[in-house]
Subunit: 337 residues, 2 copies
């Protein structure tokens, strides 16, 4: 189905309205006050409507060297978390006349070298979360303004960063469990090399190290419910004193931990306390409901977009982590002494 004849251009509209192309551009660009009479303006608008004229954005982008469009790169679409990030970013963007386009960073989908090769045509900047280093340098090579979400402020090659208060969240989880009397911990860690997960491990270890008599073991698992289940079953079956608290890197891993506990005949929270991180819908679908750390994904997206706008306008982005909140539900309790 070929594109009919060919799309009408502003020149076609001009001819139909009996004016010059420049006049059409002025009218449709809303810059005609005092330059074109109301009657001619209306004639132009009418002609445009008649022909079904749509400006060719490739041409406009070329002319203006700017697109009012931004790319949001997300690690994967497997959780609703990034849906929230997108929503927040899109809201702020819309307020400033910007659009947001998503690019899930491919994992096994073609070479990682061309995340934007295709889209870059229409981009003013990039917001990226947990991105491979080579892709990162590719963007920097493109000189595209870049904001990193939840990334190492040191290693981000000078790009602006916006971070959640993950460290604070992990500390709150640790404090909560310590207060309940737990001393033997298992950390179910995400099997993904990323700063945001490194921080979780470091902070948990650091906090527990301040309390004498605590033990901490760690096991890594892929971020999937069944991967987590397998890893947790193995780790919990190991000899030695069984941990009474299972700290998971995110809610999905926690869901796997529930399955592991069921399989081993352990009751939550009587035999073992479980915590997550994210506060997804999944958290309240579990039985008992999951004690977790609520991350405000939308606020995260908003702050990311605001930072990018700041960079685009030559300002310095705001600093400071986004606060998080411990949500205590039924999956944590006192350990059986």
């Amino acid at each position: 189905m070929a594109r009919g004849s060919t799309r009408p251009t502003s020149r076609d509209v001009a001819q139909a309205a009996g004016v010059s192309q420049a006049a059409v551009s002025l009218v449709l660009g809303d810059k005609w006050r005092g330059r074109v009479s109301e009657s001619t303006a209306e004639r132009v608008r009418e002609a445009a409507r008649e022909l079904g004229y749509r400006p060719n954005l490739a041409a406009r982008n070329l002319r203006l060297g700017r697109t009012r469009t931004v790319l949001l790169v997300v690690p994967a679409l497997t959780t609703e978390f990034f849906a929230g990030v997108y929503t927040g970013a899109a809201r702020v963007a819309a307020q400033h006349g910007f659009g947001v386009v998503l690019y899930p960073s491919p994992e096994g989908v073609g070479p990682a070298r061309d995340p934007f090769a295709s889209a870059q045509a229409a981009l003013d900047g990039v917001i990226a979360s947990s991105m491979a280093a080579d892709a990162l340098t590719a963007i920097r090579g493109d000189q595209l303004p870049l904001v990193m979400l939840d990334s190492d402020p040191e290693g981000s090659l000078g790009a602006a960063t916006v971070n959640l208060g993950i460290r604070d969240g992990v500390r709150q989880v640790a404090d909560h469990l310590l207060e309940l009397g737990h001393r033997h911990f298992l950390h179910l860690a995400a099997d993904v090399p990323s700063w945001t997960f490194d921080v979780r491990a470091r902070e948990l270890a650091a906090r527990l190290a301040t309390v004498p008599g605590t033990t901490l073991r760690t096991t890594a698992a892929p971020i999937s419910i069944d991967g987590a289940r397998t890893a947790a079953v193995t780790a919990l079956a190991r000899p030695g004193p069984r941990p009474t608290a299972l700290v998971c890197d995110d809610d999905k891993l926690a869901a796997g931990a529930y399955k592991a506990a069921r399989r081993l005949g352990l009751r939550v929270p009587d035999d073992i306390s479980i915590t997550g991180l994210d506060d997804l819908a999944l958290a309240t679908a579990l039985d008992p409901e999951l004690t977790t750390v609520r991350l405000d994904a939308e606020l995260f997206g908003e702050r990311g977009m605001e930072a990018l706008l700041a960079v685009l306008e030559g300002r310095t982005p705001a600093e400071g982590d986004i606060p998080v909140e411990l949500v205590v539900r039924g999956s944590t309790g006192r350990p059986a002494s």
Copy 2:
């Protein structure tokens, strides 16, 4: 942080290599066989590398009138289902040298009129799922080749459609429950006006109508776990014979149904059988695991992309629904007679 000086153009590369801009275009476009000597070609490539040259895609798009980029519009990012759709579409696209960009159709994020206003600059076509009718006509107005996912073949204004075998899936669910002996059904329906949900309702009603003595009630709920819980609690508490089978429009609604059952003191599946549709990770995180219909999201995405490529090349897209599969787990059983 301004863009350094300004990006190097092909002309800059030409000057550095001591050739014309046309030669640069030929070499970098890999069309130089028999037109440029190997040594000059190498000199051009070297200069391009040196300057860090990247072609301006806006200019290229303008020149070629084509972008090798495609937009995937998804209704929301709240489930992993569309992650699979994207993965499949991107895989096929990559094999054909195309890229895919995502656009979550905004719900309350700015006017619905500009889903692509921003991105359209760089698009050859659109794959869209459950799209509002006005946005649909907007695309058609843009003359952009369009493939609709899971949409009414009749009402799609002549656009190509690729559909899952939802009807077949619903019929399998109904058959399974009827076979177990259920006669009193509650349909927990998604509160979203969309063909894909209409079909579920129609097919379920049609199938049950063929068996004398069955009853079917319906209640609508927003697609969220807690929205579904509320709706299900209300519906199940209504007077009259309590349904023994609860058919949910998707897995997320089913998770809400579990919560409702817990709240009402009903055991699954002894007191009530529950079914979902999607087979998300959520399905096996529930206790007992959910009987549901597995949709092959990746295959769905692949078929969608293949259809769009067919349209772009003037071919006729393949026909036929994508098969689905009933997965029986622990959430369905015989009703207490």
